[in-house]
Amino acid sequence: MRKAPIFLILALTLLLAAFHLATPLSPLLDLRAQDPSVAALLLTEIRLPRLLLAAGYGAVLGMTGAALQALFANPLASPDITGSSSGAALGAVIGGYFFGATGPLVLAMFGAGGAAVALVALLLLAGRRSDTATLLLAGLAITLAAGAATSLALALAPSPFAFYDSFDWLMGSFVDRSLPQAAAALVPAGLACALLVRHVKALDMMALGEDVAASTGYRPRRIGTEIIVLSAIAVGACVSVCGAIGFVGLIAPFVARQIMRGHPGRALPWAALVGSALMLAADLGVRLAPAGRAIPVGVLTTVVGTPLFIWIVVSMRRRLAA
C-alpha cells in the first residue's frame, strides 16, 4: 500500500466535497445576510442531497466497477461497459411509466432488477473469465438492446411527457433531487457496498485463478453470484434516482489498482474513494459551466472518459501484441 497517494486522494475528496457544498458561494452569502435559516435550508434541502448523491454514486460506481473487474478478470468490466447501467435505466423506466411506481425505493428496486437482468445476460453471453473482445461485444449488445428497449418503452409510455422527463433523469444528473431520493439510492447501495468489501481478500486470491482461490478455501462461484447481485442492487438504486453515468466505474478502479500495486481486491475501497472524487469533480465542473446551460453530469463524464477508455484499450492491445 502506497500511503502518500491515499492521503492525497482522501484530502482531495474532502476538499472537493467542501467546494461542492459551497459552490456557488454568492447566493449562500446573500441569503445568510437576509435570513440565516433560509441559507441553512438551501444547504440541507438542495445542496446536501446533491453532494451526497454525487459522492455516493461515484463511490458505488468505483466499488462495483472494481468488483466486476476482479470477478471477470478484466480491466474493462464496469457497470456501464457491461450494460448493467443501461439495464437499470430500462428497469426504472418500466417501473415508472408502466407500473406507476413513484416511490423512490420502489423505483430503486426496479432499477436493481434491470441491472440484475443485464448482468445475468452478460454471464450467459460471455461467461466468466471471457476474453476482452467477447466481454466488450456482449456488453455492447446488452447496452444497445437495453437502450432500444428504453426508447421503445418511452415511446409507448402512457405519459406524453415521458421522453422530455426522462432526458433529465436518464442522462445522469444530480440536480433537484430530494433527501428521501438520496436515501432511497444510497441506503441500499451503501449496504450492498458494505457487503462487497468483505470479499477483498478472496478477490485478491482469485487474481491467481479461481482454482487457487478455491484451493485456499474461498468459494469463487458463490462470491461471483454475490458480486453480481450486490452490484446490481447498488448500481440499480443509484441509476433509478440519477440515471446512468458512464466511465467513472471504469476509470476509478484503474486508478485504485495503480495505488494498490495491481491487487484487484484490495483496490475496492480505494476505487470507491477515487470514484467519489471523480464524480464530485465532474459535478463541480458542470456547476461551474456558464449559467443557463445545464449540461448533465453524465455527458461530461462521457466526454472526459472516452479518451481514457480508448487509451486503456490501446495499451491492452499493445501488451497483448508484445
Partner: protein, 242 residues
C-alpha cells in the same frame, strides 16, 4: 502409523471414479496418465476445488472444512494454467501464499527460485517459464503439509526441471508430501512412488522401477519400450502421418 494424507472415495461424475489415495509424510509421488485420464481432476478433487464426493484429511484434519488461513498451512496448490490477468509483482504474488506477512520467507523463496531480479516486475510481463517459477514459489510459501502440483515441469528449461525436483525433494525432506502430475516418463525415477491413472480410475500404484517394468504403463499410454526407447504400440492400426 496413519498416513499424512488420507483421501478416499473421490468421485466426479464422468471424470473420476471413486479414487482413494494415502500418502506418507516425506513422500514425493508422481501422477501420470494419458491426456484426459483425470490427473487434473484428481488434484482438483483432493484440493476441494470441484465439488466431489469423498473425504480428504491431512494429519487427521478435514481439509475441505478448514478456513482460508488454515488451508494455506495445509495445502499448496499449483494449477496447470499460468495465465494471469493482473499486473501484480512477483513479490506480491508470493505474499498471497502466506496467511500473514513474512518478508524473510519471501526473500528466501526469491533466492531459491532465482527470481530476485524479477521481484518487483508484474508477473504477467514475465515469460511462461519465469511465471511458472513465481507461481511455484507462491504454492511453497507457507511450507504447506501437502503440495499438489499440476504439471510444474512444463515450460521449464532443463536446468529448472532438475532444480524444481531438487527443491521438491528438500520440501518433502522437511516432512511435507507432494503429488506431482507430469508427462515426462524420464523424470519419474526421481520420485518415491508413481500413480497411474486411466479413464478416471487408479490402475497402478508402485515404485518407479516396478511401474516402468510392469504392463499397466505401456497399456495405458499405448506405447512400448524396445532397445531402451519408447515407441508407439501397434503403429499398423493407424496411419503414421496425416
Amino acid at each position: 502409523m496413519t498416513p499424512m494424507l488420507r483421501a478416499s472415495g473421490l468421485a466426479i461424475p464422468g471424470r473420476l471414479h471413486r479414487v482413494g489415495v494415502n500418502v506418507e509424510a516425506g513422500q514425493m509421488v508422481a501422477l501420470i496418465g494419458p491426456n484426459g485420464s483425470g490427473k487434473t481432476s484428481l488434484l482438483r478433487a483432493i484440493a476441494g476445488i470441484d465439488p466431489s464426493s469423498g473425504s480428504v484429511a491431512i494429519d487427521g484434519e478435514a481439509l475441505w472444512q478448514a478456513p482460508p488461513g488454515r488451508r494455506l498451512r495445509l495445502l499448496g496448490f499449483l494449477p496447470a494454467s499460468r495465465d494471469l490477468a493482473w499486473p501484480i509483482s512477483v513479490r506480491d504474488v508470493i505474499a498471497l501464499g502466506l496467511p500473514k506477512a513474512e518478508p524473510d520467507r519471501i526473500d528466501e523463496l526469491l533466492a531459491c527460485l532465482e527470481l530476485e531480479e524479477f521481484a518487483h516486475r508484474p508477473i504477467n510481463r514475465l515469460s511462461t517459464g519465469e511465471r511458472a517459477r513465481a507461481l511455484l514459489a507462491r504454492a511453497l510459501a507457507s511450507r504447506p503439509r501437502l503440495l499438489l502440483l499440476d504439471e510444474p515441469l512444463s515450460n521449464l528449461d532443463p536446468y529448472w526441471v532438475i532444480r524444481t525436483l531438487d527443491i521438491l525433494r528438500d520440501e518433502v525432506g522437511y516432512g511435507a508430501a507432494a503429488i506431482v502430475s507430469l508427462h515426462d516418463l524420464g523424470q519419474i525415477e526421481r520420485f518415491d512412488r508413481v500413480l497411474l491413472l486411466r479413464g478416471g480410475a487408479l490402475v497402478a500404484d508402485s515404485t518407479p522401477d516396478a511401474m516402468l517394468a510392469g504392463s499397466e504403463l505401456p497399456e495405458a499410454f499405448r506405447i512400448s519400450r524396445s532397445d531402451g526407447n519408447w515407441r508407439v504400440s501397434r503403429p499398423a492400426d493407424r496411419r503414421s502421418s496425416p
